[in-house]
């Protein structure tokens, strides 16, 4: 008998505005995002996590692979405007805004690896391949 293929019957994309994580600490932010992913949904977050939160997300994902049956990790991509395309004053403006309210001028896409096969990113486009 051939190998049974697991086809995705429906796909849920959950959009999360930055305001939903703005007031949370790093642990809570990651917990909130991974909870959605564990529900087999693809989360589209307005903005991006801090660099240390991105690595923490990877660490927590690795811990979950070992502890949650069937969980194989995540596919992750961040798309944001190229810094080089901004003028000096724009860079300054975005720098101040980022320091005050976090990086909101980006999109972070996180999906479970059992549903999202690959995210292919080029500077200006993102291809999300499903299983």
């Amino acid at each position: 008998m051939g190998k049974r293929s697991k086809k995705v019957k429906g796909l849920t994309l959950q959009f999360m505005p930055y305001s939903e994580i703005a007031g949370l600490d790093s642990v809570e932010r990651i917990k909130k995002l991974l909870k959605i992913v564990l529900d087999n949904k693809v989360v589209i977050l307005q903005g991006r996590l801090r660099p240390e939160e991105e690595t923490r997300l990877i660490e927590d994902t690795m811990i979950m692979i070992g502890n949650i049956k069937g969980f194989k990790g995540v596919e992750l991509a961040v798309i944001s405007q190229n810094k080089d395309e901004r003028s000096f004053f724009q860079k300054m403006k975005f720098g101040v805004a980022r320091a005050l309210v976090g990086q909101q001028d980006a999109l972070t896409i996180i999906g479970p690896a059992t549903i999202v096969k690959e995210m292919k990113k080029d500077p200006k486009k993102l291809e999300v391949m499903m299983r």
Partner: protein, 213 residues
């Protein structure tokens, strides 16, 4: 995190002003199968005659941090001592079924996957101990992966000097320009850890990098 950054910065300043550092911790980071161990082996063989770790075509061959201390590298008339730290490849997903495609039995594949997840965590935890990091990228594939960007972003946030290496330039598909375009703020050195191509330029860049440690 802020405390860690401050501690790293203070440690670096202390080293510069008050003591001569014995050896520089140089980490090799990157996604699986980018050639971190091959590069570490190349350097170790060049300067100590011994290799550091085993390499394989199957991803996640290095599942524990491995290091070699007191590696003295000479460039022109200068000489520096390094602690070379080869780390497991950083990934966001690990599926034991992928290992089974390489004719590995289920039990071994599951064991490898478990060790690989622990290896990723260990690699991230070692970041704080690095004085400088070489990010090894496979120049034959798309460099815009989030793992590459996250690693570099973290090093910048921790104020750790970074050198980006575009490995596997001996292969036809290699595209150094694409790697340079993905990391425009960094010096990118194209090498082949396998053949040793362009290693002189690599050593020159490592010496330049240590000025910032």
């Amino acid at each position: 995190m802020k405390m860690k950054i401050f501690r790293n910065f203070a440690k670096r300043m202390f080293s510069i002003f008050f003591k001569k550092r014995k050896q520089i911790s140089l980490g090799f980071y990157g996604p699986p199968n980018s050639g971190k161990t091959s590069l570490s082996n190349r350097i170790c063989k060049d300067w100590t005659g011994e290799e550091l770790g085993k390499v394989s075509k199957i991803p996640h061959e290095t599942r524990e941090v491995q290091f070699k201390e007191e590696v003295e590298i000479k460039y022109k008339e200068k000489s520096l001592k390094f602690k070379l730290v080869d780390t497991p490849g950083i990934a966001t997903k690990i599926d034991y079924e992928d290992f089974m495609k390489s004719k590995m039995n289920k039990k071994d594949a599951q064991k490898r996957a478990k060790e690989a997840t622990q290896g990723v965590i260990e690699a991230i935890q070692w970041l704080d101990d690095m004085d400088a990091v070489v990010v090894v990228i496979d120049s034959t594939i798309n460099p815009y992966s989030q793992v590459n960007i996250t690693i570099v972003g973290n090093l910048v946030a921790r104020k750790i000097p970074v050198l980006v290496v575009a490995n596997k330039i001996d292969l036809k598909k290699s595209d150094i320009k694409k790697v340079s375009a993905a990391f425009p703020e960094y010096e990118v050195v194209g090498i082949s850890a396998k053949t040793g191509k362009n290693m002189d330029e690599f050593y020159e860049s490592v010496f330049k990098l240590t000025k910032y440690t």
